[in-house]
Every structure is written in C-alpha cells, then in structure tokens.
Symmetry: C2
Subunit: 153 residues, 2 copies
DNA sequence: GATTAAAGGTTGTCGCTACAACAAAAGTCT
DNA sequence: AGACTTTTGTTGTAGCGACAACCTTTAATC
C-alpha cells in the first residue's frame, strides 16, 4: 500500500511539473516536446506516424491530433510515405528543430532539479530496473524502451 | 536517460490502465474512484475539500468540479462546515460507499495483475524508498504520503 | 483473382483538467 | 474598529485526450 500510494502520487504530480515548466518557457506541452524530441533524434528527422506513436507511448488517434496542431504551427510537416500508400511520414521542420533546441536546456534542468538531483547513482539504477519490471506488465511489447537499454546491464 | 524514459513511459501508461478498467467495470475514472476511496477511509466518511484535495494530490479547482459531478450522481454530498463558514465538507453517501465496495475488488485485481505481480518483495521496498526520494522533490510538503508510512522503515 | 481481414490514419464528439477570475469568510496588523 | 492579506472554495472557458466511426491500402485466404 505504501509503495502503491507513492506510485500514484508520482504519476499524478510529475506531468504537471513537466507541463507547466515547458508551457511557460517554451509554449509546448510535455507530450508535444516529446514528439518533437523523438523526431529530432530520428533519421532525417522523420518517422512514420505509427513508429512515432510507439516511441511516445501514444495512440495513433492522439498523435494525429497533436501532429496536426504542430503542423499548423509549422513545427512539423506531414507527407505520404512512398513505400506504403497507407502510411504518413512526419518530419521535423527547421522551426521545429529550433524549438526543441531552445526548449531542451530548461527542460533538462527542470528534470534534474525535480527528479534526479534527489537520487543517488544507485537509486537511478534501481529506478531503471524497476521501470523494466513495471513496463513488462504495462507495455508487454516494450515499444518505447526497446531502443534505450542501459549500457551496463 | 534509460531511467528517465522508463519513468516517462510509466507515467504515460499507468493512468490509462487504471482508467479503462475502472470505467469499464464501475463507471468511474481512477481519480473519481480515488476520491471516493479516500472519503471511505475518513472519519464519518467526511473530509473538508482542502483535506481531500491534499489526499488526492489534486487542485481545489479540479476537485470541486469532480465532487460536483459525483454529487449529481448521488455518490457524495456536500454541506457547509459548522466550524469554518468558508469551508465545505464532502461526505460519502450510502450509494457512494456501495460504489466503492463494488469497484474495489476489480480495481485491486487490476493493480496486482498489472503492477505488483511483476515485482518481488524486495522491489516493492525499493519502489517505496524511490517513491519517497522522488516525492521529496515533486511534493515537498508530502501531503499525500504523509499518512501512509511503511511499518518497517 | 475475388473476398476477407488487418494495418495505418484521420476526424468528430464528449468529458475532463488547467488556468484565471471571482467571492466570501477568517486572520492579522495597527 | 477598519484595512489588509490569506484561506477556502466555486465557476467559466479553452484546450487536450479517449473513444468510436470511418476510410484507404496492404496482406492473407480460398
């Protein structure tokens, strides 16, 4: 029960901490920032909608709405995928890249200050392992974390 | 980075897992269920709005909307606090109690199945400690977890 | 090769939440 | 006492996300 209440509290509080800083300093929700960040790390800064949905733990429906709004702000552009006529590619624009670059330092500082500064290196390792154990149930396919395995495990 | 991505994934996925089961089986969002559950454990099944907001990691504004909707469904009733004319008390109705009792088993099974069954007893302890470390930053006043300290620490 | 099923996306709608504005009562200060 | 600040809550609004319905294209089946 003690563990559960703490987990609920974290899940309830963390999004607000991330959203308010990013919205105030960069005009982006955390989810929007995360979408842009995932695109910024992808090859050609381009991903298919489905792949982007996986990397962001999101539904295609949710992502479609968000990408449409980002496109209206010229941070992202969409174009049909040449290989598969069903698919849509999302690509980060130059303005989108600039937005990520501008937003990143403040966001990183916020995450450090509100999350990692309170943890020892050992606790960070524990958090990684616990995250794997929890996500094994919450996300059996391991869509998001599939890419980022810790180097030392 | 590995730890952070896992934490984000959990925060993104857990609410959906909780909400969809509760909404399907009990017609309640997880937050609504949690509000009712906190009331059910309180003395006289009654709490002042501010106290309830603390126990649920919520804003007073958010809580006010939710309690109004719960009141419209006759699961909760509100009445002015005798000692402080500013304050409002929220009390669980009989129907509200029944709703919690009916919803609890399925919810508990869901939490076990999707969260705790994947963790060893040692990992549950680690999760509690990590939760404390994280909430020390996210919630310096420790509003929610103040009540539930693990017995053995 | 036609039919069926599955994958990939989009859109409309409803409900919830964050934010800001507001009001009223209770302390506080001089 | 009177002016102030703080606490306690409510409400309006705008924006986001879940869900369902839908469409198109690819893959599978017979």
């Amino acid at each position: 029960m003690a563990a559960w209440l703490r987990l609920i509290a974290i899940v309830e509080l963390l999004p607000g901490v991330l959203d308010s800083q990013l919205r105030r300093d960069a005009g982006l929700s955390h989810f929007e920032y995360f979408v842009l960040a995932m695109l910024s790390e992808a090859e050609d800064r381009t991903l298919r909608m489905t792949a982007l949905a996986h990397r962001t733990n999101s539904t295609l429906a949710r992502l479609s709405h968000v990408v449409r709004r980002l496109e209206e702000r010229d941070l992202v552009e969409r174009f049909p995928c040449p290989e598969d006529a069903r698919a849509t590619n999302a690509r980060l624009t130059a303005a989108g890249w600039d937005a990520v670059v501008a937003a990143a330092p403040g966001h990183v500082a916020n995450v450090r200050g509100n999350v990692f500064d309170g943890l020892s290196a050992e606790q960070v390792r524990q958090l990684t392992d616990l995250g794997d154990a929890l996500l094994a149930r919450l996300d059996p396919t391991g869509r998001m974390t599939a890419l980022y395995r810790p180097e030392d495990s």
